[in-house]
Symmetry: C2
DNA sequence: ATCCCATGTCGGGAATTACCTGGCAGGAAA
DNA sequence: TTTCCTGCCAGGTAATTCCCGACATGGGAT
């Protein structure tokens, strides 16, 4: 801790990517990879043991979402810097990630020297966001309440509503949904009605569109 | 060409992954990376100039599908080996890729020494498939006609049927679809009925499921 | 040449589903 | 405490989908 070597830890479920990052970092004189992990479980253990200065984190981990991980890490050791490195260009992710306390958000399509620059910037206390994402960020924040509210609507939907939104988008009828969640068809209908009101939508296809845009579908039960 | 160094080219749109691969390969004594590209256009040019022995190819490229690329390369220089390295675990991909003449299919979650082993195996003339995919392959080929036909059904669906399948999955009503493609509601209905028969499905949700499994949705018009 | 069959195009009428209006209870927020 | 939001539910009506058909066309097999 006394020397100024930056202790870095890599969490990514693709060994090849880990290796690449490892080698890129090792090529720098003042950085050192002190741990690698392919899952959240491993990750947390190693973080506690090795106490890295900075964690390079891929969001799509097998056991749980990277966002949960950020939350946990920031609880355990708030001083550790987190650089998210991902393929996701969706706006939702970056907002959540930054709100959870990540210090940087870089896309995997970034060049490797961008990564090094980002690490140094973060260690100086700056926040780094991939340039191709900043445009989207600006759009989001410069937009007046109107659309912004809709964008935030996912968070405004209750758990139940989000649940039903997804089931509708997956093509289930109200009846099927009612059976799935053990309520009457009428209840499902009124939930749907309120979702429609909130999101200002009319057609079923807009449920799908919304779910698609917010990555609520993606192959699973 | 006279010495036995394996000349490798990397095509992947993530520079960090490229770097990683590059460094992993360079660490071997008998391999050399003679070119990198982040897109198909670049890729083809470099292949023609540098004449690599083996191409490591990511399927998700910005300008066009990796499958098209394989086709082109195999036309231009049939002797070049192609190792597909991807995150896609879907069965569809691997089948197409191998049919197009790829010599290997590895997932990015593979370890880096697996990659090296794969390269050597391919250069010996073997075919390499990621172990986590082989199970799926077996399932596919061991299954009697019944389900296999369903798997192949996507190709068996007519253009019109596929078009309608997607629209249904996107949540449009028959009426809306009819307007979109300028036919009567009744026509849409009979198309749907025939799709259902072919795919042996009953509910709308199965349209969505099918479309999701076959990557027919993914954010676009 | 002829038959077969998948495809693309339609209807009528029945069955199912979704929508609108309205109500009620409980909890959180103001 | 009052208001707002949520989750729950019904009746009646409108819309959608399903199940029976139909017919013309064009490619493949016999």
């Amino acid at each position: 801790m006394s020397d100024d070597t930056i202790k870095i830890m890599i969490i990514d479920d693709h060994p090849i990517v880990r290796k690449g990052l490892h080698l890129v970092i090792k090529a720098q004189g003042d950085m050192e990879v002190i741990g690698e992990a392919g899952s959240v479980r491993e990750g947390i253990t190693i973080v506690q043991e090795k106490k890295p200065d900075l964690i390079i984190l891929d969001l799509t981990l097998p056991d749980c979402s990277g966002i949960e991980f950020i939350k946990k890490i920031k609880q355990l050791s708030p001083q550790v810097k987190i650089l998210v490195l991902t393929i996701h260009e969706e706006e939702d992710y970056i907002q959540k990630v930054l709100l959870e306390g990540a210090n940087g958000y870089l896309l995997k399509k970034a060049a490797d020297d961008e990564l090094i620059l980002a690490i140094r910037a973060i260690m100086r206390g700056e926040m780094v966001v991939d340039s191709s994402m900043t445009k989207k960020l600006w759009q989001r924040y410069l937009q007046p309440a109107e659309k912004t509210q809709k964008s935030k609507a996912k968070d405004m939907l209750s758990k139940r509503q989000k649940e039903i939104l997804i089931l509708v988008a997956r093509g289930f009828t109200d009846k099927q949904i009612a059976e799935k969640i053990h309520v009457s068809v009428k209840t499902v209908e009124s939930h749907k009605a309120r979702i429609k009101e909130k999101l200002d939508i009319v057609h079923r296809s807009e449920f799908v569109e919304y779910a698609l845009e917010h990555n609520l579908l993606d192959l699973h039960g």
